[in-house]
């Protein structure tokens, strides 16, 4: 497109040429920063000697400050350099690692062999990973469930809108919650009527069979959580409030965590190294066979389900 072409004026090349000459500033007018409500500049000079060391107001214009734009370019170059250097370093180390999938690699040591060989008769769990997580390393999984609980507390603190404290923002939340209401409820409700029971049963199945088939507390709890969320989206807060309001969620989570804690601390004193304990590994393969694993799986499932449900409610309305 030659310069004389009438369409050249607004075209990209023209903008590029003008940008190179410094006349065209792509960021002008694109930023939504509020105009600074400062006095005219000379009055500002007068104030300067009283004001603490305040920078000039165009320091805050994102695009205009040349020092900032220079920093942005250096920052991008440094990030790219760091990324390339880290990638090269890691790739070299990866090339010295043992081959993919060879059994002579050092990390397939006696610990893994011990878990596999004695795992079944000690924990009674057919799924060795579940047995490892909920029996050999139950304390670690207890810590992990507490991490979930702490995450819920953080989200609660950040997004919670209290009815008593400020009814105004609660009303604003309800009004903005109307924004979430699906317009055509019937379709969603019909689908939810079919899907919610299926997903809840699947979730319960995955939790209960955690020690036999792959799955377990975490994934089962997530499936149950998403099932409840689907019910809440379809049928709204009043109908779900009947069985899933604030007290039940709190009660469920805290009781599941305390049961987990007591169950595991009991088996610390009795179950380990041949002390007598009435928790028997049971017949491998049967539902109630994993000793404590089934109950711990249920606790973890309950914690995860309540956490996911609480996340959803907090994000959506800041209250139950």
């Amino acid at each position: 497109m030659s310069r004389e072409d009438p369409r050249y004026a607004g075209s990209r090349w023209d903008k590029l040429a003008r940008w190179r000459r410094g006349e065209y500033d792509p960021t002008a007018g694109r930023l939504e920063l509020r105009e600074p409500d400062f006095a005219p500049r000379d009055e500002l000079q007068k104030l300067r000697k009283y004001a603490a060391q305040t920078e000039r107001d165009d320091r805050y214009e994102l695009g205009l400050d040349t020092r900032l734009r220079g920093f942005r370019r250096v920052y991008l170059a440094a990030a790219g350099l760091l990324a390339v250097f880290l990638a090269a370093l890691l790739l070299v180390t990866v090339s010295w690692l043992p081959q993919f999938g060879d059994y002579t690699a050092p990390e397939h040591n006696e610990v893994a062999r011990r878990y596999i060989e004695q795992g079944l008769e000690e924990t009674g769990a057919v799924n060795i990973v579940a047995g490892m997580i909920l029996d050999y390393r139950a304390f670690d999984t207890f810590g992990e469930s507490c991490v979930l609980f702490i995450a819920v507390c953080c989200v609660l603190m950040l997004l919670r809108v209290d009815k008593e404290e400020d009814p105004h923002s609660m009303a604003a939340e309800d009004m903005s919650d109307r924004y979430f209401e699906p317009h055509r409820e019937v379709i969603l409700q019909m689908a939810a009527r079919v899907l919610v029971p299926v997903s809840l049963v699947l979730g319960i199945y995955v939790v209960l069979n955690g020690h036999i088939s792959p799955g377990g507390g975490f994934s089962g709890g997530a499936i149950i959580g998403t099932g409840l969320v689907l019910y809440l989206t379809a049928f709204g807060f009043e109908r779900t409030g009947r069985f899933m309001n604030e007290t039940t969620v709190k009660l469920l989570t805290v009781s599941a965590l305390t049961f987990y804690c007591f169950a595991k601390s009991y088996s610390f004193y009795t179950g380990a190294n041949h002390l007598s304990s009435f928790i028997t590994p049971g017949v491998p393969g049967a539902i109630l066979s994993g000793g404590l694993i089934v109950y711990l799986n249920i606790c973890v499932g309950v914690v995860v389900a309540c956490t996911m449900y609480c996340f959803y409610v907090m994000f959506r309305k800041g209250g139950f």
Binding site: L44, L47, F100, V111, I133, E144
Partner: protein
């Protein structure tokens, strides 16, 4: 350059994903993109861990019809680590999203650079206002 670069595809992919996630975190001004970047880094580390546990030609660590010798199953330990890791990374991103919502409610923008600018502008206004009070009158 060791020989096993030709077979360790998972490890190479996890290194690349880690670097992509890191670039995302460093360069993207948008907060939501940063959260996605961190999640990609999480998945990269978990991919690396689980790939290290894999042994060719062996089955998943679920005892099938009573075979108990360790030569039949892969290494279950990385699977155990990664299982709890995945759920923890979900709760981390949930807390990050809650923070993003709070930031948006305060600054009405998702762009972190703009938020920093608005923050510095408010500090400057604050110092001006304070100085203005002990000076004579605040700016109009």
């Amino acid at each position: 350059m060791g020989s096993s670069i030709l077979t360790n595809f998972e490890e190479i992919a996890s290194v690349l994903l880690f670097v992509i996630g890191m670039i995302d975190l460093l360069v993207q001004p948008n907060l939501v993109k940063k959260i996605i970047g961190l999640d990609i880094m999480d998945s990269a580390v978990y991919l690396f861990l689980a790939a290290k546990g894999y042994i060719a030609g062996r089955a998943a660590p679920i005892v099938t019809d009573g075979i108990l010798d360790a030569a039949h199953y892969i290494n279950p330990i990385p699977a155990g680590l990664v299982l709890t890791g995945i759920v923890v990374s979900v709760s981390v991103s949930a807390v990050m999203m809650a923070l993003t919502i709070c930031l948006y409610r305060e600054y009405h923008t998702l762009n972190l650079d703009e938020i920093m600018m608005l923050l510095r502008r408010r500090e400057a206004d604050e110092t001006l206002r304070l100085s203005g009070r002990n000076g004579e009158g605040t700016p109009s």
